[in-house]
């Protein structure tokens, strides 16, 4: 966090900023939002720095450009690293937050931070996520004083976005390289590969790190379609929170102790938790049920 005193001289000049993301598609690792900003008067120089869409650059070139822009006093940058645990958790909430919303919120957070630092942002260029016009309206609504340009392939159209894409991509790559797994089981390795679902190294890593009960390490985005084929090999998990939606419609029934051979119940339906059905309100509200077979 830069303090007021550390603000560059050009901060009070009209400034432009680019925002781009890295790691949206991968099945594992963080998603990173990066931004890069500078005075509008520096725009010409920026174009000469050979930033290009980070995906078209070799890793060493990206690293080199990142080091250059970090050293450049006419440029400011920031990142938002979104932990895969957070991505999974948000996308698997009862009220699911989709990846577009998460992305939008991250970008909004970056703009807010830069404005709060005291940088006079007048124009912000953003690579689109979802419908460009809706996204632009959302951003303009939040920051009426800023002009937003939301476009497809903004990372190859605007140097300031190309710069942001380098910041994001390098940060994501380094974060994955240095990732410390939460899990402490033996026989785990860090050969994640790129994290993209099609990468053979990533596929092999997923296959080797599957766990019957826990699924995958928290590095993996459980909500990704790529995980689905593996999930059939796992122990089935039924959630109380899912059950409420499905209760009326389909036959996903709960299990109770009886299914584990603890009791012998005459009742046909299995239930996860006692419902207290048929008892007085005191027991219903507390989900208490008398167990006569034990």
């Amino acid at each position: 966090m830069a303090s007021e005193a550390a603000l560059p001289k050009w901060a009070s000049e009209p400034c432009i900023m680019g925002i781009d993301e890295a790691g949206r598609g991968p099945v594992l690792g963080p998603m990173v939002y990066g931004c890069l900003y500078c005075a509008r008067s520096y725009q010409m120089t920026l174009s000469s720095l050979n930033f290009a869409d980070s995906k078209t650059l070799k890793e060493e070139k990206r690293e080199e450009l990142f080091e250059n822009l970090k050293a450049d006093e006419s440029i400011g940058w920031a990142v938002d690293i979104i932990d895969p645990k957070e991505l999974s958790a948000k996308m698997l909430k009862k009220n699911k937050i989709n990846l577009n919303e998460i992305s939008h919120e991250s970008a909004i957070g970056l703009v807010a931070n830069v404005l709060n630092m005291g940088i006079l942002l007048t124009e912000v260029y953003v690579d689109t996520v979802g419908d460009a016009e809706k996204y632009r309206t959302k951003l303009s609504g939040r920051f009426p004083a800023v002009k937003f340009v939301v476009a497809k392939k903004a990372d190859s159209l605007y140097p300031v976005v190309s710069g942001a894409s380098i910041v994001a991509k390098v940060t994501r790559d380094r974060a994955l390289q240095e990732w410390v797994l939460d899990e402490t089981a033996e026989n785990m390795n860090r050969n994640f590969g790129s994290g993209y679902p099609g990468d053979p190294e990533t596929k092999a890593w997923l296959k080797n790190h599957i766990h019957t009960v826990f699924g995958f390490p928290t590095l993996v985005r459980f909500s990704w379609g790529t995980c689905t084929p593996y999930i059939k090999d796992l122990a089935e998990v039924l959630w109380e929170s899912d059950k409420m939606d499905e209760d009326s419609s389909c036959g996903k029934k709960q299990m109770k102790l009886s299914s584990f051979g603890v009791t012998k119940s005459k009742r046909k339906s299995e239930e996860i938790e006692s419902s207290g059905k048929g008892h007085c309100k005191f027991f219903q509200a507390r989900k208490l049920e008398q167990l006569t077979y034990f």
């Binding site: 958790a89 089981a185 005459k266």
Partner: protein, 166 residues
């Protein structure tokens, strides 16, 4: 009325001698808001990593953990005074033929471990005293009052109270 089966639970320390040390599972018993259709040993502590959030709500110290990609919010609570949590297992009845040990004739249980606290987890809602799990403990106080023998004093009080109402 549903008819119960006969059975017994031995809570005096398990094993035939009844003097064996019983495992204490304090801080290791978790109640998850889901059913895991798996029964067997599992390296729980390598994968399940509850962390304190440093927040406290209604006197409950909040913890968080992740399971199968979902964020769980939980709290550790003591088993109410005068009660204890037990892990019981079916008692192994010597070397009898497997066929004889059907559920009917081995409804005999023994204690494998005890616990005095439990961590319960919610998905998508902060732990609170409104949670059914915490409220279920109310029954213990109600049951105690209901089953307490009525003393002459109580009757006297009750009739005085009734007298006042009239």
């Amino acid at each position: 009325m549903e008819k119960g089966t006969q059975g017994s639970i031995i809570l005096n320390g398990g094993g035939d001698l009844g003097s064996q040390e019983v495992a204490d599972l304090n801080g290791q018993v978790h109640l998850l808001p889901c059913v895991i259709k798996y029964d067997g040993p599992c390296s729980v502590s390598d994968y399940f990593k509850p962390k304190s959030t440093g927040m406290e709500v209604e006197g409950l110290r909040l913890e968080e953990a992740h399971f199968r990609g979902r964020k769980l919010e939980g709290a550790t609570v003591s088993i109410p005074e005068g009660y204890c949590g037990f892990v019981v297992g079916k008692k192994v009845l010597g070397k009898r033929k497997a066929a004889d040990i059907s559920e009917e004739n081995s409804n005999c249980w023994e204690m494998n471990a005890i616990f005095r606290d439990i961590t319960y987890w919610n998905h998508d809602s902060l732990p609170s005293h409104d949670d059914a799990f915490l409220r279920s403990f109310h029954w213990l106080a109600v049951a105690k009052s209901m089953h307490k023998p009525v003393a002459a004093e109580d009757l006297a009080h009750a009739s005085t109270a009734l007298g006042k109402m009239e």
